[in-house]
Amino acid sequence: MLSVKDLYVSVEGKEILKGINLEIKKGEIHAIMGPNGSGKSTLANVLAGRQDYQVTSGEVIFEGKNLLELSPEDRAREGVFLAFQYPVEIPGISNATFLKTAVNEIRKYKGLEQLDAMEFLALMKDKMQVVGMEQSLISRPVNQGFSGGEKKRNEIFQLTVLDPKLALLDETDSGLDIDALKIVANGVNLFKAQGKDNAVVVVTHYQRLLDYIVPDFVHVLYNGRIVKSGSKNLALELEEKGYDWIKEENQFSDSVK
């Protein structure tokens, strides 16, 4: 589904990703972990098409298409979804208007009929229950005045409504209590169930989420590179030992660079 090859990315002249390689097959769940500032959000945002990150070399193929050539909106329409680490607040646009526009823009791209107000409402009702979104949040401006947890839930709500092929979750679990965490995990698992080929990349600092969203692979991103990959046991090991041993293992390659 997604193949990232030797990806180098800079921001304002500073190199942040230094040769990322990542293969994600249909139906897989990958977790990406790593210390603060290692480049996890950068990777997720580059895949979603954020333009202030500069891809200096490498390629990304998504479902046979060169992803880096597509605009952010076309990536979304092709099935890439990013749940933001810090979702923005947009005053003046209601959640409902925003989502209805998004759903219909994606449907138009796919050559599907537009949903009318009633059909859209029905779709929303269905998904709202899963992530425990209150009706009142739907009519409020996008994320405005939402608590941290509500913002994260709203991201997952959008994921279930827009129904992409690949979900990139950037620390969607941070700052959530256990109940909210379960709701988020529920939403993600529902998304997985919506299509057996759907794939998920979870960026997280905590093993906790991985109890509910069980990964097939765990990668450690450190200093712009994936320095270690393993099974879900790697997450347990990181939880126990922290990142110092990873940093030590990679000291040599750092100083050479």
């Binding site: 202030d52 952010p72 329409r77 923005v88 646009i93």
Partner: protein, 445 residues
């Protein structure tokens, strides 16, 4: 660009038209109002049109308006419009009493009143000047003084407008729509209504003033409106400026508020080549509230200038101002908001904010809040912002599959909605939302 003619030439044009106007009056030139006109034309000859050297016109260069002459509408051929033609200028779903002015002249045939408005006195200024000689002394000579060439010119040709008197304790459910239709296929016109609105004690009224154009020639709409809000009254004034691209509008509104009255205006400017609005509110007595809102959308070479003055002459009054603008291409916006809190105006609350979005590198806005505070126990604040569309919000919308164009128009509409949502007449709000959305699509091309 056509060269700006000499100052003297411009003055001569209006002076010779004044003489024609005077001759056309026949016996009427002996009427008391004509003395005001004669004084005003002399003032106009002395002042001329304002230049950017005038502090109040510093950022608004009226050169495009000076390259052409405008014939006072009273001297040109009358145009006739059918009810059908007029109906396309009405707001769908708004059930209003409608007063139509064609090139400044009140048209009885095109106007229609709702039954609930029968207690309200609607008269043309022409009629009032004929029937009430002391109206001149009481109002025309009182507060509406000449402040610049435009106000002098308006007074020099005083002839018609609306005089609207809402008696005490009258609550109108439905709005009164003042529709000013201007323009001609024959020549450029100067249209200059002078309006008086009196809202009685404990009364409530919503007024929609809209300006639109017909015909292929340009016009200069130079209007003056005075509003007197009685004790404990509530007035909502919506001004929708949707003039054709080649037209000019200079509009001056003076508001006198009596004790505990609430006045709210919402000026939405979406048309015209050059627009200048002056709103001055004076609190004559304590406990008043004034809310001044505005939205301006401009592209091309449009120029929109909003000047407001709130005179906190007495204690315990609140004023609240929010003006927002979206400027694209080479458009220019000006906001000048003066709040004067006099020595005795304790417990004043005055808030003012002006926010602008610039969509092109060539668009420009000059914003100048002026707070002059002479009292010590007051709460005042002001702020102005000039910015671009938020990149992060754009990315957020696009990352959900919404295309650039649509994302832009959603964000612009959201920016404008702060003002549009303040329109309390629902069908008007909906119509304006639709018109603005339409405009924004064009603005963001």
């Amino acid at each position: 660009m056509t060269e700006v003619p000499e100052k003297e030439e411009i003055k001569n044009w209006y002076y010779s038209n004044f003489e024609l106007f005077e001759n056309s009056l026949n016996g009427q030139s002996k009427a008391p109002v004509h003395k005001i006109r004669k004084e005003a034309i002399a003032e106009f000859i002395e002042l001329g049109f304002p230049t950017t050297k005038n502090e109040e016109w510093k950022y608004t260069n009226i050169a495009p308006l000076l390259t052409q002459n405008f014939k006072p509408a009273y001297l040109s051929n009358k145009i006739s419009l059918s009810k059908e033609e007029v109906s396309k200028f009405l707001f769908t779903g708004v059930n209003a009493s409608i007063l139509v002015f064609v090139n400044g002249d009140f048209s009885n045939e095109l106007s229609s009143l709702l039954p609930e408005a029968k207690g309200v006195k609607f008269e043309s200024l022409r009629q009032v000047l004929n029937n009430e000689p002391d109206f001149i002394e009481k109002y025309l000579l009182k507060s509406n003084k000449t402040i610049d060439g435009f106000s002098a010119l308006n007074r020099a040709f005083i002839s018609d407008g609306i005089v609207l008197r809402v008696p005490d304790s009258t609550i109108l459910e439905n709005p009164v729509h003042l529709l000013f239709i201007s323009g001609s296929d024959e020549e450029n016109l100067l249209v200059q209504p002078l309006n008086y609105i009196f809202v009685g004690k404990n009364s409530q009224i919503k007024i929609i003033e809209s300006t639109v154009g017909v015909g292929s020639k340009a016009y200069l709409l130079n209007s003056v409106t005075e509003i007197f809000t009685g004790e404990n009254s509530v007035t909502n004034y919506y001004k929708i400026q949707n003039d054709p691209d080649t037209c000019f509008q200079v509009s001056r509104t003076l508001i006198h508020q009596e004790r505990s009255s609430v006045f709210t205006s919402n000026v939405i400017s979406i048309g015209g080549e050059l627009i200048r609005n002056d709103i001055s509110t004076i609190f004559e007595s304590e406990g008043c509230e004034s809310n001044l809102y505005g939205l301006y959308l401009a592209d091309g070479k449009r120029h929109i200038d909003n000047h407001t003055l709130i005179d906190h002459a007495v204690a315990h009054c609140h004023s609240n101002e929010l003006y927002k603008g979206i400027l694209d291409e080479k458009a220019r916006g000006v906001f000048n908001g003066k709040v004067l809190v006099r020595k005795d105006a304790q417990k004043t609350q005055a808030y003012q904010s002006n926010k602008n979005l610039l969509l092109s590198r060539l668009a420009k806005v000059d914003t100048k809040p002026q707070l002059e505070i002479f009292a010590d126990d007051v709460k005042c604040s002001h702020g102005a912002t000039i910015g671009q569309l938020d990149e992060q919000s754009m990315f957020y919308l696009r990352s959900r599959g919404i295309g650039t164009e649509k994302a832009r128009s959603l964000l612009l509409n959201a920016f404008a909605s702060d003002i549009v949502d303040l329109i309390s007449i629902e069908p008007l709000r909906e119509t304006m939302n639709r018109i603005i959305l339409d405009r924004l699509h064009k603005v963001s091309l």
